[in-house]
């Protein structure tokens, strides 16, 4: 497993804009073990080797308890490794030098309830040594970036979850960091809020920032990220570019409405797999089976042909396959996000 990971990591090309640049975040054999009662131990993260390159969106995915947040906390110096080490911009995570280049947005950020959005940004700006006109201008710029200019005076206690999330992102960005870390950035947001946050993350990359996103929402990560690392029970299962992890599958996907059991059985005999759990049956046709033969059978059965497309593997299927081969339990993916 480890050698596969290393090989994959080595073969993965760096993002085109900064192929020669040093990694912004590095984890080397990073391990975190918690001591529990009665002498028991819990390994939250085990020998993680990871490099985040400049100007990329890097996703760490995995179910609850896989070690995503632990990784972020270690990178931020909030907790300390049991063994191994990590660096941010080549500095120790607890060094103020590393903090100057980092912004962090926790899951469901909770700010001082009596402050409004502008005051929150200014508070964190002051912590970063900003002041006067520079801070005012920066606050204005960030409020515009996250779409909160018109609602700048709304106090946090009256803000919606989406608004707090935006302010959290602005607070993370106040020191104009090179690396922005986000823990479940779309947690609890409605589809519109989710879309906006995703757009903001992509916008950050276009501004030359590096974004490290932790999420258990695989579909979102697949959509946004350049590279991903799949964690499960503290172990790194896969890491690499999304398009490489999603191995090309030479199959077609046929969606059929009103497919009878007879049709499913008949196509099964031809070597066509079926997923009948959905409302419309989904058939995966391997390249070895002529697609026109399959379509003829469907037409003859009287079922309604809805669509024919090239099958595209998703991060979810990759994840499920990875945890299965790793003897892990894919049911763990069912968490609070469901």
């Amino acid at each position: 497993m480890t050698s596969d990971v290393v090989a994959e990591e080595r073969s993965a090309p760096n993002p085109p804009s900064s192929a020669e640049a040093l990694p912004v975040a590095t984890c080397v054999e990073l391990t975190k073990t918690y001591k529990l009662a009665m002498g028991h131990e819990l390994t939250a993260l085990s020998k993680l080797n990871l490099e985040v390159s400049p100007n990329e969106i890097f996703g760490i995915v995995g179910p609850n308890g896989s070690g995503k947040t632990t990784t972020l906390k270690l990178l931020l110096g909030l907790i300390f490794p049991t063994s191994g080490f990590c660096t941010i911009m080549g500095h120790h995570p607890r060094s103020p030098l590393s903090k100057q280049s980092v912004g962090f947005m926790p899951e469901g950020p909770f700010f001082y309830q009596h402050l409004n959005g502008a005051e929150i940004i200014q508070f964190f700006g002051q912590l970063c040594g900003l002041g006067g006109r520079e801070l005012r201008d920066r606050t204005e710029e960030l409020l515009q970036l996250v779409g909160m200019s018109a609602r700048r005076r709304v106090v946090i206690s009256q803000c919606s979850k989406g608004m707090v999330q935006r302010i959290g992102l602005a607070a993370a960005m106040v020191n104009d960091p090179d690396l922005v870390m986000m823990d479940e950035p779309t947690s609890g947001l409605d589809p519109i809020g989710t879309r906006e946050i995703k757009d903001l993350i992509v916008e950050l990359r276009s501004r030359g920032k590096t974004v490290l996103v932790c999420s258990h929402l695989l579909e979102q990560v697949q959509e946004m990220c350049d590279r991903v690392a799949i964690l499960h029970r503290g172990e790194l299962l896969r890491v690499g570019r999304v398009d490489e992890i999603l191995s090309p599958v030479d199959e077609s996907e046929v969606i059929v409405g009103g497919a009878s059991e007879e049709l499913v059985a008949k196509l099964g005999q031809m070597g066509v797999g079926a997923d009948t759990a959905r409302r419309d049956a989904c058939f995966r046709v391997p390249s070895s089976v002529p697609i026109f033969d399959v379509l003829s059978v469907i037409q003859a059965s009287g079922a309604e042909l809805l669509s024919v497309s090239k099958f595209q593997e998703t991060l979810e299927t990759v994840f499920l396959r990875a945890v299965t081969t790793g003897q892990a339990d894919p049911d763990d993916m069912r968490g609070e996000h469901d």
């Binding site: 931020l76 909030l78 103020p96 469901g108 700010f111 001082y112 009596h114 912590l127 970063c128 993370a172």
Partner: protein, 246 residues
């Protein structure tokens, strides 16, 4: 960080209520003289100074309960610690903010008490002021202990430990002289006597109760003692907080 702590504290209604209640109680301290006919002045001095102490402690406990544990509970500390601010700066800022609130409140209570005393007896008594002026420093030391405990414990433990330290500190001299029945008791009491600050040195009302003046030495020594202890306790708080995981 200090200004944020002050701003947060200023929004706490409980602190407003304590301060208003304290001002009313201390300002109306003359009503207590009825409890001690013939000893009115002594009773007013004793009651007034102890009210300042009591309300100061309540303020300190209210602040202490929210000082650091709330930041951790709400995870605000995750965002703060991701900024270029050291743990020492964070802790010092928190302490300075809380100290400013508690000392400020104590100074207001001392002024109210001195005004009430002067109005009651139609004279300004500098000896009473000497006894009262050390109270803000006692509360500063108390706040320091509260800050220290809050670096590793939750609100309930902060309250229990800090109040216990304050009570033991007030009977520290007594602990030294009580008969020790076993070696273990002697060791425990000696350790407590050594690690708990002597809060009893801030009680300057004894000379006033027997009509004596308060020597300046009894004023500046507790002040210097408080400042020294605050430095030590804050150093320990930093050591603990620096190793804490969030």
């Amino acid at each position: 960080m200090a200004s944020a702590t002050i701003r947060e504290a200023k929004r706490m209604r409980a602190l407003h209520i304590i301060l208003i209640f304290a001002i009313v109680a201390i300002g109306a301290v003359r009503v207590f003289k009825a409890f001690s006919p013939g000893e009115e002045e002594k009773f007013i001095i004793d009651t007034g100074i102890n009210l300042i102490r009591l309300f100061g402690l309540l303020t300190g406990l209210m602040l202490g309960a929210m000082l650091i544990s709330t930041e951790i509970e709400r995870k605000t500390i995750h965002v703060i610690m991701s900024k270029p601010i050291s743990r020492g700066q964070f802790l010092l800022g928190k302490f300075i903010g809380a100290a400013a609130i508690i000392v400020g409140s104590a100074v207001i209570m001392v002024l109210v008490f001195m005004a009430a005393y002067t109005l009651e007896f139609h004279r300004f008594n500098v000896e009473v002021l000497k006894a009262a002026i050390v109270i803000p420093f006692e509360l500063l030391l108390f706040m320091s202990i509260v800050t220290f405990v809050s670096t590793f414990a939750g609100p309930i433990f902060v309250i229990v430990f800090s109040v216990s330290a304050w009570v033991l500190g007030h009977v520290n001299d007594f602990l030294a002289v009580i008969p020790k029945e076993s070696t273990l008791t002697a060791v425990v009491l000696n350790v407590v006597g050594a690690v708990i600050p002597h809060f009893d040195i801030f009680d300057l009302t004894r000379p006033l109760m027997v009509g004596e003046t308060v020597p300046m030495e009894l004023v500046w020594k507790p002040i210097a003692y408080a400042i020294g202890w605050v430095a030590i306790v804050q150093a320990f708080a930093y050591i603990v907080f620096n190793e804490r995981e969030f």
